[in-house]
Amino acid sequence: MSTVTQAPAPDESPVRSERPVYKVTSWRVLRSEWSKFWSLRSTWITLGLALLFVLAFGLIAAARYASQSEAGRPVEGHFAGATAVSLALFGISFGQLALGVLGVLVTAGEYSTGTIRSTLAAVPRRLPVLWSKAAVLALVALAVGGVGAFVSYKAGSHFLSGTPVALSLSSDGVVRSLLGGGVYLALVGVIGIALGAVLRSVAGGVAVLVAVLLLIPGLVALLPSDWEQDLGPYLPSNAGESMYGLSQSSDALSPGAGLAVLLCWTLLALAGAAYRLMRSDA
């Protein structure tokens, strides 16, 4: 190159010859997303809240049920038809908000802060980033949700022993339900990730998440009843409920079908996120 400041040749060769060989791999991207996940305070706060919701609401529900039951009154209201499992998982509907919001933060937060530019500069193929984020959150949410559900159940049985709903872990479907609670939270977290990646806005992502989990089920309940029976069970929240519920009402899906439906929703959301990530400028 004929330029004004010609690089002195001896300087150039050492730089080149000593260069280490780096390479981007899926595993390393996962490692990077893992470290990014834990290096933010918001992660710890939302995870803490999720765990707190699952545990606290589960315990309060069990304690309330036990006190009503001891008083000899017929159990009514929220707790009519309760089981030890449904009481333990009472906090799931609150925990899901915390984990869903965390999912939105993981992706949309990168856009609102500009981090996405660093992220995609390092991994310009892009898709590994999405898969890694989803994997990290799914894993962590599964752990938090699963641990929360089991601890809540264990601690709750303390209050519930001697009441009509007391169950042991070996009872039919108990372990499946508690694990189902963890899986549900993991999938809601992944849906949050996908919503954040599609909308690229924390506020927008959280709004749609709340709409999907809370508003739409309420809205569908207002539809004519045969419509409601056709649509209702396939909504993400209802499909999830049949997955972690111990006993299913007659019009609900089986646990396996519930899992399949919720997985479909999750994959659909991820597909949308992948499309947006690949097709739009960052």
Binding site: K23, V29, S39, T113, A121, A122
Partner: protein, 322 residues
């Protein structure tokens, strides 16, 4: 080595980058100049694949950026806007970037040291000053020991010490044989470090030149000489590569191609008394303005009627002043 061929980016109606052709070569600092909104940042985003071009291609080291196995080792980029989560520490940010490539912790500590971030590396980036943020951006750009370094307005918001630091850094990087591509909207800033210049306006390539050529093209470094006998002085100074102009009946001559020192010596040898001997450095800034305003005039006659016409007026004024 960065090669752009007919690179084009349109956002809806607006064409941000318009059929750019240029090559940025290793071993030198190449300045990327243009007024605000000329398409510099967009071009840089296109280079590292954050935006997809509407047309044309741009490659780094012979391949599209995304096709490299270790992109951070190929290109290190500091983009105009901050690209770091304010809630993360500088160290965590760099470490996360490093993980994607398997870059060791040692290298992270090295760039922290190199950019002088040692004392704040464990603090959250949200509390950083503008200058610290820039240094972190540069640390991230250098992390992969890249063959090409792209910096978008790197001295924005830096104090004089920081500006000097960047200048030395750029020169050093180029001397190590790397490709260094630096954007700025200020000619004064870039002319101190850059050898090569790529000048754009309204997304179009206006000039692909060197600082040296630009100076020459703009009239070069001339010397104003006033003497008792301009006619004879012309003869004394005449020679290859020397250009002398002057109005008839005036004592003043404009000489290009000779230094003031040489002119003085030759005049003394010839016994001509000089009244004035003033080197007149052409303002690069002015040369830059002339180039960019030409483009505006060109646009004015074709597409961008009213706005360009207003700027063309301004050009005439500055033209007559010069």
């Amino acid at each position: 080595m960065i090669e752009a061929y007919q690179l084009t980016k349109r956002y809806g109606e607006k064409t941000a980058v318009d059929r750019l052709d240029f090559t940025v070569r290793p071993g030198a600092v190449t300045g990327f100049l243009g007024p605000n909104g000329a398409g510099k940042s967009t071009t840089m985003r296109l280079i590292i694949g954050l935006d997809a071009p509407t047309g044309g291609t741009v490659t780094v080291g012979g391949r599209r950026y995304a096709r490299h196995a270790a992109p951070l080792q190929e290109v290190g980029a500091l983009l105009e806007a901050r690209a770091v989560h304010p809630g993360r520490t500088a160290y965590a940010h760099l470490m996360a970037q490093a993980h994607t490539h398997g870059i060791p912790r040692r290298r992270v500590e090295e760039v922290i040291e190199l950019t002088g971030l040692g004392s704040v590396a464990r603090k959250r980036v949200g509390a950083f000053s503008l200058g610290m943020g820039q240094r972190l951006g540069i640390a991230a750009a250098l992390l992969g020991d890249p063959a090409t370094v792209i910096l978008d307005e790197p001295v924005n918001g830096l104090d004089p010490e920081g500006v000097l630091w960047i200048r030395n850094l750029l020169t050093d990087l180029a001397a190590e044989g790397r490709t260094v591509f630096v954007s700025s909207h200020l000619m004064s800033e870039i002319s101190q470090v850059a050898d090569h210049l790529i000048i754009v306006g309204r997304g179009r390539l206006l000039a692909d030149t060197t600082v040296h050529d630009l100076v020459r093209q703009a009239g070069g470094d001339s010397v104003k000489v006033a003497s008792a006998d301009p006619g004879r002085l012309r003869e004394v100074l005449a020679g290859p590569g020397v250009e002398i102009t002057g109005r008839a009946g005036s004592e003043e001559l404009q000489v290009t191609g000779l230094s003031a020192r040489t002119i003085g010596i030759r005049a003394a040898e010839a016994g001509i008394a000089l009244f004035e001997l003033t080197p007149q450095t052409v303002s690069l800034e002015q040369a830059f303005m002339d180039i960019t305003s030409d483009a505006v005039e060109y646009h004015g006659s074709t597409t961008l009627g009213r706005r360009a016409a207003g700027e063309a007026d301004a050009t005439e004024k500055s033209g007559s002043a010069a």
